[in-house]
């Protein structure tokens, strides 16, 4: 599209512009509606504050759990040969494409009070996950962990494994190699994965509302609050939407500048 040299075919450019407008217009629509002047007061409204606080707590917990459990899972997928591995990987990544509400139904029948594991949890320990903050954390972890696994697995595959060999010849046990060499070398991928996971957890709606319910201050995270408030108090709903949008843009910018450049080329 520069002045000289070959020009792009106008038909392709036209369709591309339509596609771009389609993606960009909702953002413009949202931002146009933001009540800038009352924004701070709207976000300080009790329901909004409770939702934001809960979202922060749940998404950070979900990210933490995804890292703690997802990194070993990614390591096994990247390093250990075993039969049925592609099936396992497909199952691990399924939550990325399955409708979150379906994930929520699944969680309900697995960890709900009458569920497969949930019944044992309740009978033995008196733990009930449905309608609890822990349930909201679980729903977010379920939906977001695949982002961490897929990113960390890619980083593990891309790294030069000869560094692990070098560490082994220097006397490091396999666990020490993982901790002192592998983890530091995949750090960019790990950070990128954790950020993506966090952003996904923050926006989680379907699985949360299905499994954990919609209890203000306990399971009503920001996306749930937005959905409800849009009927009763749209100004607050728009303000909360802006917060979620701003966080996502910040995450994308961070990934681009700091980590996407090196980890994903």
């Amino acid at each position: 599209m520069s002045g000289r040299g070959r020009r792009a075919p106008w038909l392709l450019v036209l369709v591309a512009l339509i596609a771009f407008a389609f993606l960009a217009l909702p953002l413009v629509g949202l931002i146009r509606e933001v009540p800038w002047r009352s924004l701070w007061d709207d976000l300080s409204e009790p329901q909004a504050r409770a939702a934001l606080r809960l979202s922060m707590v749940c998404s950070l917990w979900a990210t933490f759990l995804a890292v703690v459990f997802g990194v070993p899972l990614a390591w096994v997928l990247a390093r250990q040969p075993f039969p049925g591995k592609s099936l396992v990987r497909a199952l691990v990544l399924l939550p990325m494409v399955v409708p979150p509400v379906v994930g929520g139904v699944g969680l309900f029948y697995a960890f709900g009070r009458q569920g497969l594991a949930g019944r044992l949890l309740y009978d033995w320990f008196g733990i009930q996950l449905t309608f609890s903050t822990a349930g909201a954390v679980m729903a977010e972890t379920f939906v977001a962990m695949p982002f961490l696994v897929i990113t960390v697995e890619a980083a593990l595959r891309a790294m030069d494994r000869r560094y692990e060999d070098a560490a082994a010849t220097l006397g490091a046990s396999q666990l020490a190699v993982f901790r002192r060499v592998t983890l530091p070398l995949i750090k960019p991928g790990l950070v990128a994965g954790a950020l993506l996971t966090w952003a996904r957890a923050l926006g989680e709606f379907g699985a949360t509302i299905t499994f954990a319910g919609n209890i203000q201050g306990r399971t009503q995270t920001t996306p749930l609050a937005v959905y409800l408030l849009l009927e009763t108090n749209p100004r607050v709903a728009i303000g909360l939407s802006l917060v979620l949008l701003a966080v996502c843009i910040a995450v994308l910018a961070l990934l681009r500048d700091r980590w996407l450049g090196s980890a994903w080329g």
Binding site: D160, R162, Y163, D165, A166, A167, A168, T169, L170, G171, A172, S173, Q174, A176, R180, V181, P184, L185, K187
Partner: protein, 349 residues
């Protein structure tokens, strides 16, 4: 005391079957073309690749017998200097050198003291806190050497220790490395594809081709009695094969070469390129061997010219640029190569 290895190992299309011995305070260079199995051999000795069968013994200890015994790499008293050095990029020089000691449970302060001393020894006391990315190739190699030596290994393995360096740095680093190797009193086993490195660093050379040891000896042995085309090419001589009949060898191509004394039976014939005189007309006089052929190609290396001759006896002759000028040689020109019998070395294959 030292390393005794009988290794059988199949990896992809490579079929490794090697017998290798190296004594204390001896530097053995494994020399071979790409894909000969050099790195695979090192990985097997280091414990990064279990052998299929055979036995690797270091001093009195069997470290791999292909069956029940397999000592994992972290428990072998072996230091490795890897190709490209593989310094941990997230650690500075001193932490790289201290890595092995820390892995063995030595406290940070003590490990760092030893590491600092080792860096001092290899002349990098100033670069203690430099990250690998800030080091030159030669400095990185010395850090890698210090790192491998820090664990006080019984055996030091070096994989192409000079291949990552550019030509200008190589000679100096090679001299340096030679000095540091001398100071290490365990077994030194290095792998290289460069005969210059092998000549400068090794007491003994093992030539590896297609997974097998084809020849072992000093560089002088190999220069005078190469046993394969690869070995002959390494030392820059012509190698011909044939059957000896006391005073001449009948080559596989049918041509006869007159030699001083070759005994009888299958024989190898070595002719140094400088012993070959090139003529444009059939020479008369004393040379006992006159071979006709055509110029195939001409390579110039500074003050030497190598003339590749095709014919019944393919040869490479080395002449001076002045001779090249006088002879007015071109590719395709008919030539006669004259070689005195006394300049030819024939020995049983």
């Amino acid at each position: 005391m030292g390393l005794t290895a009988h290794i059988e190992l199949r990896l992809g299309s490579l079929d490794l079957a090697i017998d290798l011995e190296a004594r204390d305070a001896e530097t053995v260079a494994v020399l071979g073309p790409n894909g000969a199995g050099k790195t695979t051999l090192l990985r097997a000795v280091a414990g990064l690749l279990p052998i299929d069968s055979g036995c690797i013994r270091l001093d009195d200890q069997v470290i791999d017998d292909g069956e029940r015994i397999f000592v994992p790499p972290e428990r072998r008293p072996i230091g490795v200097v890897f190709q490209d050095y593989l310094l941990f990029p997230h650690l500075d020089a001193i932490d790289n050198v201290a890595f092995g000691l820390r892995s063995r449970g030595i406290r940070r302060a003590a490990a760092n003291r030893v590491a600092a001393e080792l860096l001092e020894q290899v002349g990098l006391g100033e670069q203690k806190h430099a990250k690998p990315a800030e080091l030159s190739g030669g400095q990185a190699q010395r850090v890698a050497l210090a790192r491998a030596l820090a664990i006080q290994p019984r055996l030091l393995l070096l994989d192409e220790p000079l291949a990552a360096l550019d030509v200008t740095a190589r000679a100096a680093v090679r001299r340096d490395l030679s000095r540091h190797l001398e100071a290490f009193d365990g077994v030194r086993l290095l792998v290289t594809h460069d005969p210059l490195d092998a000549a400068a660093l090794a007491d003994r050379i093992v030539i590896l081709e297609r997974g097998m040891v084809v020849q072992t000896g000093s560089l002088a042995d190999i220069s005078t009695h190469p046993r394969s085309d690869y070995a002959a090419e390494l030392v820059g001589v012509n190698l011909l094969r044939g059957t000896a009949h006391t005073d001449h060898v009948t080559l596989t191509t049918g041509a006869d070469i007159v030699v001083p004394d070759a005994g009888t039976g299958p024989a190898l014939v070595v002719i140094h390129p400088r012993s070959i005189a090139v003529h444009r007309t059939p020479p008369s006089g004393s040379p006992r061997n006159v071979i006709d052929g055509r110029v195939d190609a001409i390579d110039r290396f500074g003050d030497r010219v190598r003339v590749h001759i095709t014919g019944d006896v393919p040869l490479v002759a080395e002449i001076t640029p002045a001779a090249l000028h006088d002879l007015a040689l071109d590719a395709g020109a008919p030539v006669w190569a004259a070689i005195k019998a006394t300049d030819i070395n024939a020995y049983p294959a």
